[in-house]
């Protein structure tokens, strides 16, 4: 049988993965949720037809969004995670004993349920006692937070669907308010390659740069995301992602990773010329 799942990265470019079978498909109040078993990438979670994660390459995303801030700010103990109902970010975070409290705000309970059932590799730490799941609109949740978190991780879908509110100036402003005076916000910042993605990336970078005194972008290669090339935003009130980076402290933790290393940490902030230009344009 020749069954393929395709995601359009632009109207003229698509990525196709051969699928063994579909494990789950349901429309929630917010979006369509699908889980596939694929030949090359293991299980795939797709929301509204966009790949959120695959078992094969999720480690790149989750390691890069978690370990970079954790290696910069040694005092992180209270963390807010937005989106990320699959549990991948939480799985990495719970490896740190210094983290005491994780609030996970996910709008859609059905995502969490589907991942618990079909993607246990990601969802395995959602029951850690430090993790508190809130099924709520993140914009609303964070409006009520002030000076509470050391780290906020924004693990959203792309900005053209139900996650639109997580790419707005009001959201970033509320994150600033919710962070302590030395807090850090890390967000998935999309891809700079295709025009529509690049425009959205620029807009959100501009809004973050207007909100936080320190605002840098770093990159990773993620095969199933648009152009295989992904960006993260590092926004911070106090710590610089390289000047305040303590590689020794992190290496002393002896944490085994498959993508992140302290050498890569620095390298990830060195960006290609076209991207530097795009970012400078809006800074």
């Amino acid at each position: 049988m020749d069954l393929w799942f395709s995601e359009k990265h632009t109207p003229d470019v698509k990525l196709s993965l051969r699928v063994e079978r579909q494990l789950f498909s349901k429309q929630s109040d917010y979006q369509r949720i699908d889980v596939f078993e694929s030949c090359e990438f293991g299980r795939i979670l797709a929301l509204d037809g966009n790949i959120m994660l695959t078992e094969r390459d999720e480690f790149i995303y989750n390691e890069m969004i978690v370990h970079v801030p954790m290696a910069v700010h040694q005092g992180i103990s209270r963390v807010l995670v937005i989106g990320a109902g699959d549990g991948g970010v939480v799985k990495e975070l719970t490896r740190y004993s210094r983290i005491e409290h994780i609030d996970l705000v996910e709008m859609d309970p059905m995502v969490v349920d589907a991942c618990r059932q079909y993607l246990p590799g990601n969802a395995c730490q959602l029951d850690d006692e430090r993790v508190h799941i809130h099924y709520e609109n993140a914009l609303k949740f964070i409006r009520y937070c002030e000076n509470e978190y050391d780290l906020i991780i924004v693990d959203s879908n792309d900005p053209f669907g139900p996650s639109e509110g997580l790419f707005t100036k009001e959201f970033y402003g509320n994150c600033y308010k919710a962070l302590k005076e030395d807090g850090i916000m890390v967000n998935q910042q999309g891809s700079p390659f295709y025009q529509q993605d690049a425009d959205a990336m620029q807009r959100s970078h501009k809004r973050i740069a207007n909100t936080f005194p320190i605002c840098r972008v770093y990159q990773a290669h993620i095969p199933t995301y648009a152009a295989g090339y992904w960006l993260f935003g590092f926004a911070s009130k106090k710590y610089h992602p390289i000047d305040d980076f303590d590689s020794k402290a992190w290496n002393d933790l002896h944490m085994r990773t498959r993508y992140y290393t302290t050498r890569l940490h620095k390298g990830a902030f060195y960006l290609p010329a076209f991207l530097e230009e795009m970012l400078e344009e809006v800074e």
């Binding site: 609109n137 914009l139 609303k140 964070i142 409006r143 639109e164 707005t168 100036k169 009001e170 402003g173």
Partner: protein, 488 residues
């Protein structure tokens, strides 16, 4: 509120104009008539922008599609269905905005030299109609809420007094509701008007949903009013510029049609008419559920905005049984002066910094328009943006002007003043003179000065302050509002 019998549902399930257009499209009739774009072929750029579906039904009046100027088939059927849905004796499809409905209503009710009783906080279209027909306004000064700086409704006793002082007036016009959602005691005013042989007209530009929702203020037709102008395109979901004029049994429908045809286009847009038809069907069948949800969203938004602190999102708690006889719960108005910001400043920040466009901001308030298309996730954005604006910009409110109601001094009728000999003067030299034109902030489009009113120092101060705060001012010949035309 409608009583929905099975028969009613079966009838209202039809949309005759929409159905005729669908049928017409399938016939693939060769067009040797207007419009000249010929189903979009002649204007590919427009077609690609608006879509083939849309331009293919941008057609002209013809036998199978009826004619709005003299409707006898599908448009007439749509009118009859609309009349039933709104509980009116007659309904007219309007394609020149609610402005055209209001004007037709006023032109039907009064002639040159006759008096009409109305609150001063009417939309400019009402006074425009007086310029056209030469009727004379008798203003009932609305009550003002001092804290919020907004005009309220008319008290029944004020209307009674106006009727006593002007027993020959031919009509009373009521805003149902005002832009801010405030309703006068319409039933009592209708009764008063009728007891004195006057018509009662309602401007329901902001009240479409009163006809379909549950537990909302009374609609004009339910209250027994003689005519009502209903902006279907505002809360009802039809295309911009489409509207309904409703009439009760005391008004001669043929005469209303003649009045409408004085100023109405003879090439009425089928896009607009079909949107009225489809929206009427939607509201008649599902309006109760739809507006229950809008109301829930509005109530949630008010509670969240009030919990931010500093703002006051006002609602039905304002009801006082008289000048605020009732309040439209789906209106979302927010008083901003307590964070030291004029409404217009918050309005500009929301758009420029947060990509959120609201309906208007005036001196002390903003209004976010909620309607059939709203969802909670956008409301969360609005509330969060307001919270951010407060965090970033809150300042002392000393020196902030509150909106004062300025009692107008009517010296000449709007028509006399508009057509009289006049001269243009720099605005600061016009104090004490009689204005021959309108000055207003748009939106909301309620005149600060109307033709025939005396210009006072208070009015000039207000205009200059509103300009300085960034209100977009319209009306006068001079677009920069640096000069005004005054009577010689």
């Amino acid at each position: 509120m409608l009583d929905r019998t099975t028969e009613f549902i079966r009838r209202q399930n039809r949309a005759p104009i929409h159905e005729a257009l669908e049928k017409f499209r399938n016939l693939r009739v060769v067009p040797f008539d207007v419009p000249g774009h010929k189903r979009g072929r002649g204007n590919p750029e427009l077609t690609s922008f608006l879509g083939q579906q849309c331009v293919s039904v941008d057609v002209n009046s013809m036998k199978p599609l009826d004619n709005l100027c003299h409707p006898i088939s599908v448009i007439r059927e749509a009118e009859i269905l609309a009349a039933e849905a709104f509980g009116a004796a007659e309904a007219f499809l309007m394609v020149g905005g609610t402005t055209s409905a209001v004007q037709s209503m006023v032109l039907t009710a009064c002639k040159r030299g006759e008096e009409i009783i109305l609150p001063r906080n009417v939309h400019r279209s009402v006074i425009n109609a007086l310029v056209l027909c030469g009727a004379v306004p008798v203003y009932v000064n609305p009550q003002v809420d001092r804290r919020l700086g907004i005009s309220l409704g008319m008290k029944v006793e004020q209307v009674e007094q106006a009727i006593r002082e002007h027993p020959n007036a031919v009509a009373v016009l009521v805003n149902n509701p005002t832009y801010y959602g405030i309703c006068s005691d319409l039933r009592s005013i209708v009764k008063l008007a009728h007891d004195h042989g006057m018509l009662c007209l309602a401007d329901e530009a902001h009240g479409t949903h009163f006809y379909f929702g549950e537990d909302l203020p009374v609609s004009a037709m339910d209250a027994g009013a003689d005519m009502a102008s209903v902006s279907m395109h505002k809360s009802g979901g039809s295309l911009t510029q489409s509207s309904f004029l409703l009439a009760g049994p005391n008004v001669h429908a043929g005469y209303v049609r003649q009045i409408i045809n004085l100023t109405q286009t003879t090439s009425a847009s089928y896009l607009l008419m079909s949107s009225l038809d489809i929206s009427r069907r939607n509201l008649a069948l599902r309006g109760d559920v739809i507006f229950r949800e809008v109301r829930r969203i509005a109530e949630y938004a008010r509670a969240e905005i009030n919990s931010v602190g500093g703002y006051y999102a006002f609602g039905p708690e304002m009801i006082n049984g008289d000048s605020i006889f009732d309040f439209d719960p789906i209106k979302l108005s927010v008083h901003t002066l307590d964070i030291g910001m004029a409404g217009i400043e918050v309005y500009d920040l929301l758009r420029d910094d947060y990509d959120i466009q609201i309906e208007f901001g005036d001196i002390g308030n903003i209004l976010a328009y909620l309607s059939i298309g709203d969802r909670i996730q956008e409301v969360e954005r609005l509330v969060s943006a307001l919270a951010e604006i407060r965090r970033r910009y809150q300042r002392d409110k000393t020196g902030m002007l509150s909106q004062e109601y300025i009692d107008p001094q009517v010296v000449a009728s709007p028509q006399e003043a508009f057509y009289a000999q006049k001269e243009s003067l720099p605005i600061e030299q016009t104090e004490g003179r009689v204005c021959s034109e309108f000055v207003m902030c748009y939106p909301p489009g309620i005149p600060i000065l109307a033709p025939g009113e005396r210009i006072t120092k208070d009015i000039l101060d207000y205009i200059l302050y509103a300009k300085e705060k960034g209100c977009s001012m319209t009306g006068p010949e001079d677009p920069n509002i640096e000069r005004l035309n005054v009577l010689i």
